[in-house]
Symmetry: C2
Subunit: 203 residues, 2 copies
Amino acid sequence: MEKTSTVAAKGRPREFCVDNALAAALGVFWSKGYEGASMSDLTEAMGITKPSLYAAFGNKEALFHKALDLYENEKLEYTREALKQPTARAVAEHFMRGAIDAQMSSCDPKGCLGVISATACGAEAASIKADVIQRRASSQAALVERFEQAKRDGDLPDHVDISGLTSYLYAILQGMAVQAGSGATRAELERVVETSLMMWPGR
Amino acid sequence: MEKTSTVAAKGRPREFCVDNALAAALGVFWSKGYEGASMSDLTEAMGITKPSLYAAFGNKEALFHKALDLYENEKLEYTREALKQPTARAVAEHFMRGAIDAQMSSCDPKGCLGVISATACGAEAASIKADVIQRRASSQAALVERFEQAKRDGDLPDHVDISGLTSYLYAILQGMAVQAGSGATRAELERVVETSLMMWPGR
DNA sequence: TAGAATATGTACCGGACGTTATGGAAAAGA
DNA sequence: TCTTTTCCATAACGTCCGGTACATATTCTA
């Protein structure tokens, strides 16, 4: 007796687009952080009232998790693209240049939502922080796997510490996010990338 | 008619040690961030009441700036020590190993107060963020100067982008702080440092 | 056309926040 | 001892927080 996703809704239809509202909420969380974003900030940016928000998304925390899903799917697509690059070096370069585009987009807040949410330290953000850290771990695991493949390909020297190299690359990405959030220019971040690539093994 | 800092205070002497209280406040800010630290958190950790806190430190923001002074003087001493190292590589290594000690001390909160405060995004933290960013800029300028000296010493190749190299090293340090605050182990951070040193030019 | 079901806007809840007024206790100088 | 100064403690202030009743409005089903 599963309800096939019928087109005809029962009651009064909502007057706002859930996807648009969620995108607006993501923008608020991204620029103000989880705790820094008040319900008033959110409802104002989303163009809805609080009861509508609670009816559609549950509560503030659930809204954040959904915004984080959207962030991963839309803004972090470059990370999945990066893993498909042919060499370890190209993977790293794609990661870093993609991070610049994502963190310095003129129409999005600066910095990385993951870094912002993981360094937010309030008590109420504990579950938020845990979610972000877990997502990062699985993303990092994928990169480890990619680098191990690179080593099998003879693309990375045998003596390389894969886990260390992965954490190292992530550290650069996170540091770039910190700097992007602190007012760094795109040119400055590009010089960080150039410097990193200068040091990267091979070529 | 300047009042020489007389030893004899007029009225009733305060019953708590200002330095100890400030150190306790630093611990709270460090682990909870500026906005995450409530006045109740602070007064409880400092062992004083709110009126005492306001009388001695002004308000929450002034207390934070003084805690930040203490943090720079005590916990970031290794950065000034690092600049005295003989080679650019030794400077970088001292920075990174010092960062591990500072960010992973067993008796201090994990991570870096500067990174935490710069990524805190609430509206009330704007002045806090500006202060932290400004301090970081002057610290970074000192490292640029040190690397320029290294270039003059023939210690860094001429083609190196000093500013890029500095931002790159800071990015690694900031990324390590993010990871330290996210539950990374000391061993993991040490592998980041080893990887970074593996790639560092020279030796 | 009645009724069920859902969305909306207003107005409000208890609680935590940073900050301060008040009142009394304690220690210094006279 | 008296005055002055500064301290400590309680309790309250006004404001904002996340979250919610309530009544009204709009759609579908029957």
